[in-house]
Amino acid sequence: MGRLALGLIVNPVAGMGGSVGLKGTDTAAILSEARKRGAVPQAGARAAVVLNALAASRPELELLAAPGDMGEGIARDAGLRPIVVGAPADGETSAADTRAAAEAMAAAGARLIVFAGGDGTARDMASVLGDRVPVIGVPAGVKMHSAVYATSPRAAADLALRALAQEIDARPREVMDIDEEAFRAGAVSARLYGYLPVPYAPDLTQSVKAGGVSSDREALMGIAAEIAGRMEAERLYVLGPGTTTRAVTESLGLPKTLLGVDLVRDGAAIGADATEEGILRALEESRPGAIVVTPIGGQGHFLGRGNQQIGARVVRAVGLERLLVAATPEKIASLREGTLHVDTGDPELDRALSGWRRVITGRGNETVCRVAA
């Protein structure tokens, strides 16, 4: 099995904004404001829960920790002797420190990186790691739009143990982040920044573990076959970002812009990474249309997060009844509060989209889910 190297990165200031009414801590100024308002660090405590559980089960673990309060300190408090990776932060830790630590851990052969933070941290990780090293997010931030987090620190520990035992594989999960300034001003503008490989444990949502048969992968193929089968001649299909829609284009033998919106008509790609204006133009030239989107794992937005190109005007142009939402049963089971969300920026449209909606969950089957604005 070789050496068992685990990386640990803590964004010590993650989540500090939340408790004092600030939405995130992306800049030094905001952080200082948060401290002024009495915020205390909490990411470290959450990471410690994970670390203690891991150390108890896998004493042979080789721990690569980011320096200082980015991991090293917590590791020592847990009675571990970490190998410190990366240069100590100069003053307050920054996004650059996260990126440097992640890069150094990948270079040092980490098999898995556990990070405690929020969307900003996830985004930093994604920017340097790509799909090189699987990660598990310990939820600690204010902004939690990405789908890379375990449901709790305890669940993160279980996932990590099973990933280290090579019992489970990783799947690409969305990394989202929002513009904090706009967020603080009351507007949400989330972007899909990429994907991070996250260990996938079917039995966190199902009763048993898979034994060679991957039900989630099968469900994805089923969804692709179902949507491909429903596609009508001369209709323009607007395919949102994500691995679910990518499965659809794969089944058609077409490429997919993972982070972008692609246009397909009559089995042919007629537009890649389209902007909202581009989509509207294409729809003008070629009506009727249809939209295929998938919700973000965990938080459940299927419009208005990471696919803003498919804005209110596009949805209205296509027609609400031509909006297809697809998700694997596993993704639906993972929804917090069991609810899907929309945020098109058009309150009237959001209201019209709210209520109960059929979601394609596989070949020949659907699940009716609640949608809230």
């Binding site: 199902q206 639906i332 089971a333 909606r357 020949g364 659907e366 699940t367 009716v368």
Partner: protein, 532 residues
């Protein structure tokens, strides 16, 4: 040690080898009857004359043990199983209850056990009378017009419902047009699975904030493609959907049929009838609700009931009665294809009939009410065990016959998961509990259904065990996660049964593959079974 284990219980631990590994020195367990000389002399050794390739070259490698050793082996195995006869079993969705022994006595009589299904009906009047009488009684219990007892399990009964829906729409020229069955996420998995097997598409309604499906969700699901609705109510959460009548009406208006899976029907006996609720058909598990023994996972029987407009689709044969004699009508008519060989598990029907006769109408209602009362007693006490939660706090209706609980707070606090508690239960001398069917929408779930048979002391014993385990989870969590300690066996490597290089379903595979076991990676334990 006893102190640490803390339950005072230890299961029989016989360390009994696999039967083909017991040394027997070529013993014989049973001798077949001698072939009369007249026969052997007349025909010779017919088998020896079989062509090569057809004749078996070497007898099968079966055990060679003297008779008493075979008996002893299986008696020892029986002592390492926790049937309801020997301990408390509250597994949710399973409706465990006492199966009266007098039923077994009667079923074993040669007059019932040693009859052939194709005997002249004149010589089968007793069995047919049971089937006919119980059919009439079930019609009264369910508010239906006719029943079949051919399906041999709940799943097969639900499958039969799906086949009836298929046949109904086909008879109206709508097969292929109406191809969608609607069910709910908390109905038994068979309510989604068996219509899929019958060729339908399946639409699943997610629960609303009360924990059951909402009318608006159903409205979003029905269309001109709707073939039918198939669900349990109460669902596997023990929650009754009070909008059920509206559900039935909406599906009927859309042109679909409604099938009531009464797998959770125990709390409804004499209280609510499928027919009065508007359903077109239903199914009951005779091995659950009606006391026929669960048979280690079978000998089951589903009673599938229909309203008059669907009677012609029931599978053949139909038991008839002309006022004097009982008969069997094999005419295929519009009946769906055969579901199970012959007449089904008639022994289960006999036992169900006997049970209803023993209890009568008043008794059935007492069964239902007591099952609900016992369940609410368990709920009341479990609510007070620190570390548990009851999902859907907005739903303040009392639960009916079972509850889906959650150990999430305990897990977050201690790392002890529901599956660990389940294994630890066995150390207290009670059958483990059921966690949940898929999808596991409730985190760290456990589902208990006490039924009507248990005494207060028996329920208190289970409550004590749960309380103690929750305390242990805080004080000595590793003791819980390493459980069981006093079961018939110690923890097994749960990865082996999941690994194609290691799994072994027969002893011949085991002998070939056990060498691979040393190489298997150690995980966090396998499934270990059981639910139904």
């Amino acid at each position: 040690m006893t102190d640490r284990v803390g339950s005072g219980f230890h299961a029989a631990h016989w360390d009994e080898p696999l039967i083909d590994e017991i040394p027997g020195d070529g013993g014989r367990g049973l001798l077949p009857p001698r072939v009369d000389d007249a026969i052997a002399g007349a025909v010779g050794d017919v088998a020896a004359a079989l062509p090569e390739g057809v004749r078996r070259a070497k007898p099968p490698a079966l055990p060679q043990l003297p008779q008493h050793r075979v008996l002893r082996h299986f008696l020892r195995l029986s002592q390492m199983a926790m049937g309801f006869d020997v301990t408390v079993d509250m597994m949710g969705t399973c409706t465990m209850k006492y199966s009266p022994k007098v039923h077994e006595y009667v079923a074993r009589l040669p007059g019932f056990a040693d009859v052939h299904p194709l005997q002249d009906p004149e010589t089968l009047q007793g069995t047919l009378e049971i089937l006919y009488r119980f059919n009439r009684m079930m019609c009264e219990i369910a508010g239906m017009d006719a029943f079949t007892f051919q399906p041999a399990s709940g799943a097969q009964g639900i499958y039969t419902n799906a086949c009836l829906i298929r046949a109904y729409h086909a008879s109206r020229g709508e097969d292929g047009k109406r191809d969608e069955i609607i069910t709910t996420a908390f109905s038994h998995p068979a309510d989604a699975a068996t219509p899929a097997v019958a060729g339908f598409k399946v639409i699943t309604l997610m629960p609303g904030e009360m924990g059951f499906a909402e009318v608006d969700a159903l409205k979003a699901a029905v269309s001109e493609r709707t073939a039918g609705l198939m669900l349990t109510n109460p669902e596997d959460t023990g929650q009754y959907n009070p909008n059920i009548r509206a559900f039935v009406d909406i599906v009927h208006e859309a042109g679909g049929l409604c099938a009531y899976d009464q797998a959770n029907g125990n709390p409804l006996l004499g209280v609510v009838r499928a027919g009065d609720t508007g359903f077109d058909m239903c199914q009951f598990n005779l091995h659950k609700t009606f006391s026929a023994p669960h048979g280690a996972l079978g000998l089951g029987c589903a009673a599938v009931g229909v309203k008059e407009h669907l009677e012609r689709f029931l599978p053949r044969p139909i038991v008839t009665y002309d006022g004097e004699r009982y008969g069997l009508d094999h005419e295929p008519g519009e009946g769906i294809e055969k579901i199970r060989a012959f007449l089904g598990n008639v022994h289960a029907v006999l036992k169900a009939y006997a049970w209803v006769r023993s209890l009568g109408a008043e008794g059935l209602r007492a069964v239902a009410e007591t099952a609900v009362l016992n369940n609410n007693y368990m709920l009341h006490n479990i609510r007070q065990i620190e570390g548990t939660t009851i999902p859907w706090p907005k739903n303040t209706y009392p639960k009916l016959e079972q509850v889906r609980y959650s150990w999430e707070p305990l897990y977050e606090e201690t790392g002890v998961a529901s599956h660990d508690v389940l294994n630890r239960m066995v150390d207290f001398g009670v059958q483990h509990y059921m966690e949940s069917h898929v999808p596991m929408l409730v985190p760290q779930p456990f589902t208990l259904e006490p039924g009507e048979s248990l005494t207060i002391a028996e329920m208190d014993h289970v409550l004590d065990a749960l309380r103690r385990i929750a305390e242990e989870a805080r004080d000595t969590p590793e003791h819980v996660t390493a459980a069981p300690h006093s079961a018939a066996i110690r923890p097994i490597d749960g990865d082996v049964p999941e690994d194609p290089d290691c799994w072994a379903f027969t002893s011949r595979a085991y002998r070939r593959k056990r060498g691979n076991w040393a190489n298997v990676k150690r995980g966090l334990g396998g499934h270990g079974g059981g639910y139904s």
